[in-house]
Symmetry: C2
């Protein structure tokens, strides 16, 4: 079933120990939709400037991603510059230019309104909430956020959390949001803020799912599940790995006939798989060249990496 995603479509200048790239196509919504497009159809809501042309459009078209919700306006697209020279697990931001994003007012095309799945990528929680409110009928809403919003925009973020079914954030963020350093306590605190399901991403160590399911006729059961990340020979560029995880996770879920606990567990694996691919080349290069058989082959590698038998 189709996913609508709202978030940034942007340009990134990136430096890692493997080299430097200027103005790659990037942004959370871009990575998310490329990753999710291998599982289900994806519709994007974003804003871009005059620097976004047919070449960028073609990246989405090649994966049959619906871009009717990408608004084109005067000015330049969102731009981010960062490096990972000392630590591949944490970006150092050198420059952020909001550009056309500063005045972004998400507009949801009529053709997107029947989406059953909604993903609120990491943007201003005020915008996340607005999109959530005009799509009240969706079956499952997931979202992401970052330290900046947790620290300086907490009241707006707390409003968004009330409307989320699934929150995906990283280790440091779940501790920051809850004010608790213990992962189990932090997860419980964040789940009490709204999202029934929490996915905590641990970078090169994988991710943990904190989940609750109610079997038919039974009472609620708490479930924890840990998916590994794959030890990689070479991490060329970790930019977008978290958004690609989200795309694999949510894309897989959206393609399932039923949202069972087993579906969530497999979704965690597909999230890890897509995150691992994203790191193998600069920007979106690897996701653009990927095929579904490669994805399923790596899924099996992840299974062998963690399963006893």
């Amino acid at each position: 079933m189709p996913i609508t995603v709202v978030g940034s479509v942007a340009y990134d200048s990136i430096e890692t120990p493997a080299g430097r790239r200027e103005r790659c196509l990037g942004g959370a919504a871009t990575y998310f939709s490329l990753a999710a497009s291998f599982f289900t159809s994806v519709r994007v809501i974003a804003v871009v400037g005059e620097d976004f042309g047919p070449e960028q459009e073609a990246v989405f078209a090649a994966r049959h991603i619906d871009t009717r919700g990408i608004e084109h306006t005067a000015g330049k697209s969102f731009f981010w510059e960062g490096s990972y020279l000392e630590n591949l697990n944490e970006a150092k931001t050198h420059n952020t230019e909001l550009n056309v994003f500063a005045a972004f007012e998400p507009k949801i095309p009529a053709a997107y309104r029947d989406s059953d799945f909604l993903f609120l990528a990491n943007i201003d929680p005020v915008l996340q909430r607005r999109v959530r409110e005009v799509m009240p009928q969706v079956k499952l809403v997931a979202g992401d956020t970052m330290n900046y919003w947790i620290k300086d925009h907490r009241p707006a973020l707390l409003e968004v959390l009330k409307g989320l079914d699934v929150l995906l954030i990283n280790d440091a963020e779940v501790r920051m949001l809850s004010g608790d350093n213990n992962l189990v306590h932090a997860a419980r605190a964040v789940r009490s803020m709204g999202p029934r399901t929490l996915v905590v991403k641990h970078g090169e160590y994988g991710a943990t799912l904190f989940h609750e399911t109610t079997p038919k006729g039974g009472s609620a059961e708490r479930r924890t599940f840990r998916a590994p990340a794959m030890p990689l020979e070479e991490v060329v560029d970790p930019t977008g790995a978290g958004d690609s995880f989200a795309g694999g996770f949510f894309g897989y879920l959206a393609a399932q006939p039923e949202l069972t606990p087993a579906a969530y567990r497999r979704a965690m694996f597909y999230g890890s798989v897509m995150g691992s691919f994203a790191c193998e080349r600069f920007g979106t290069e690897r996701l653009q060249q990927l095929s579904r058989p490669e994805i399923d082959a790596r899924f099996n590698v992840f299974r062998e990496l963690t399963h006893l038998d």
Copy 2:
């Protein structure tokens, strides 16, 4: 089959967010042998001072651990004082007194000589090597080390590595020893120093096994396996978690009729299980009160935590 372990039997004064304990029974060989004793018989080589009496002896006796190789000399036992107030993943050392350990000359009782399994816990590599040399007939030798020996005693440590089948070290140590920040490259470099099998411990994120097996009539196959750690409600005291991991891992292996890849994978899980128990109380308290059914129940929890079906 019996394991002989050489390492420290000591007293620890520990401060964590859960409280403070003065002069608990501790030391790498203590944690290792308590953990391993749930799987196989264990024989300890160590040295203690006059402060080690019947009460401490009883802790080993209760687990049927052979202490004939623990030498009693004049003076005080090894003493360590540390805290984990800011970071439960890393001890801050306040004081280390070698005491009787300064002049330790390991003596191997005749009754230990038929051990098929040898564990060289984290002590001076010169001593590790000496014990290794007088037990050349063992079937499998594993060892541990720490940043101090890697940094300041590298030549002696490199000699020990040549005689090891399995090395267990933590994340920061494998990177320090290899001089490479990428885990896959670091593991390859360290395995070229001697140990065919490498276990890298990631604290609360579990551990990775880098392994090579040669099936009958086939060629060598590289294998990577990742065991999780369990997200714990409360980490009371992480002291000894790594040594308990080693005890569970090596104890389980020593009890197997054959060292198959499947045995190594299950050993990784038992290592994680024993490490998780060690953290639940101060010092060796939890290991002393443990039962095999509790261990197997937690093994199943670890399986549910990571397995798709």
